[in-house]
C-alpha cells in the first residue's frame, strides 16, 4: 500500500473518530487461557510446525509458539488455533519485505 493512501486513511480515521482496526485490517486476537487463540483479519499461513505457527497479518507476521499446535479452523479471515500456546509474538515487517 502506498504511503499517501495510508496517510489519507489515517486522516479520515482520526477526523471521523473511527477505530483503527477497522480501517487498516489490523489483526485482532483473543487468547483464551493457554489453549485457544482466535485470530481475526489474518492474511494466510506462512509456516505450520508442531511447535510453531506463523501467520501473515497486516505489515508483518505473528509467531505462535507452543506444543501440539493445531489449526482448528481457518475460514476467510478467521482462524482458531488450539494447543498448549506458550508465546504469541508480533513481528513487524522488516524494511524490504512486502506483504
Amino acid at each position: 500500500m502506498s504511503n499517501w493512501f495510508m496517510r489519507t486513511k489515517q486522516w479520515i480515521g482520526t477526523t471521523l473518530q473511527l477505530p483503527e482496526d477497522l480501517l487498516f485490517d489490523l489483526p485482532r486476537m483473543t487468547w483464551i487461557g493457554s489453549f485457544l487463540l482466535h485470530i481475526e483479519n489474518h492474511k494466510g499461513l506462512i509456516r505450520v510446525e508442531k511447535g510453531c505457527i506463523w501467520i501473515k497479518v497486516f505489515e508483518g507476521h505473528i509467531e505462535v509458539n507452543g506444543k501440539a499446535l493445531q489449526i482448528q479452523s481457518m475460514v476467510a479471515d478467521e482462524m482458531v488455533i488450539q494447543g498448549e500456546i506458550d508465546q504469541v509474538e508480533y513481528k513487524r515487517q522488516q524494511g524490504g519485505e512486502k506483504a
Binding site: 494466510g44 499461513l45 506462512i46 509456516r47 505450520v48 510446525e49 508442531k50 499446535l69 493445531q70 489449526i71 482448528q72 479452523s73 481457518m74 475460514v75 476467510a76
Partner: protein, 393 residues
Amino acid sequence: MKNVLPGTVRVTLKGKAYATVIHRLHRDSVSLHQLKSIGEHEVEFYISYQSLSALRKAVFRSGCTISLHRGKGLAYDVENVVLVRSFMLWLVVAIAIVIGGSQFVWSIEFTGATPEIQQEVNEVLKKEGFQIGRLQRSLTSEDKMAPLLYDKIDNLSWMGMEWQGTKLIVRLKEKQGIEMDEQLSSSQIIASKAGTIQSMLIESGQAVENVNSVVKKGQLLVTGLVGREEDKQLVPSKGIVMAETWYEVNVTIPQTLTVETLTGNMESRTSFELFGWESPPIHFKKNAFSLATEEETIHTYELFGKEIPLKRKSVQFSEINRSKEKLEPSQAIDIAKEVAREEVLSLIGGGGSIQHEKILHEQIENGKVKLTLYIQAIEDIAEVQPYTEETRE
C-alpha cells in the same frame, strides 16, 4: 449426490511449498479444518467435499503432492448405503410389499345399525366379493352397491363406505320411525285362574263379567264382539283384570342352618401378566385355608395415558368358617313363610301382590319344620285368546 450432501475429506499435503498451497486455498476462500503438521513439510487438514476442485487448482505446479483420505459426513453415509446392494434390493422389495399389500382389503368393519342388519349386509357384501384379501380395485363401487343393499335389506335406510387405507368401513343406518301396530286379529279374554275380580281395566273389547264376581278358570271375561245388535264387530281385546286368587303352599325346611362366617384371615396371591402370559404366583402358601372365598382384582398400568400390556393380578383369599346352627321353631317358621312368599310372588308375576297369608298347618318332625300356608294374592288373570264362535252367547 456428493456435491450436495455435507462431507469432509482428509488431505495430506507434502512438499516444501505447502504454505503456498494453503495460501492459494485461503485466497479462494476455502475453509480448512484441523490443520496440523505431521512432519517436516507435511501437513494434514480437512476440507469439504465441494472444495476438492479448488484444492487441485491450488496444488497445480506447486511441486507438492496430495493424498486424499476418506473423510466423514453424510455424503459417505449415503455412499455406504448405496454400496450395500442387498440392502437396496431388500428396500425395494419391502417397498413393493407395502405398496402391493395396500392394494388389498385387509379388514371390513361395520358401524351403526343393529347386529342383525350388519350381518345381513355382510352376507350381501360377501356375495358381491367383499372379502378380506380381495383387490380393492376389483370391488363394486359404492354407487352400485348401495341400491343393491337397499333393495335386499328392508330395514336399511342408508349405507356409506369409507376406505381407511386397507380397511373398509361400512356405515349403516337402520330405518327408524313409528312402527305400525300389527293388525291384531280379533280376540277375547278369559280367566287364566279361578278368583274374585277386584278391578278391570279394559282397553278394547266388551267386559262380560263385573267386579266382585267370582270366576272359574277358562271363563270368558272380555269378549271381542262389540257393537249394537245390528252391526256387531269383531275387535282385538286388550285389558288387565286383577283378581283375588289363592294358593296353598307346602314348605319343608330343616331346623339346622348352615352359617358361613369370615374369620378375618386373609391371604393374597399376586401374579403378573405380560402379553397374555401369566407368571407363577409370588408368595403363596399352598392350601392355606380349607374353605375360602376368592376375590380377583386385575390392576392395569398406564404409561403416558396408554395402557401397557403388563397387568398385575391379585387374588384375595378370605377364610370361611362354616358352622351349623339350630333354629328356634319360631325362627324356622319365619324362614318358611319367606320362602313361601317368594314362591308365590314368582308365580304371580310383577303386577301382583300378596294380600294375606295364614298358617293352615305346622308340624315339627325329625328336625324338620313342615308348614302349609294359605296365601291370598292379587294378580292379573287376563289371558288373551283368539276369538271363537262357540263362546258367543
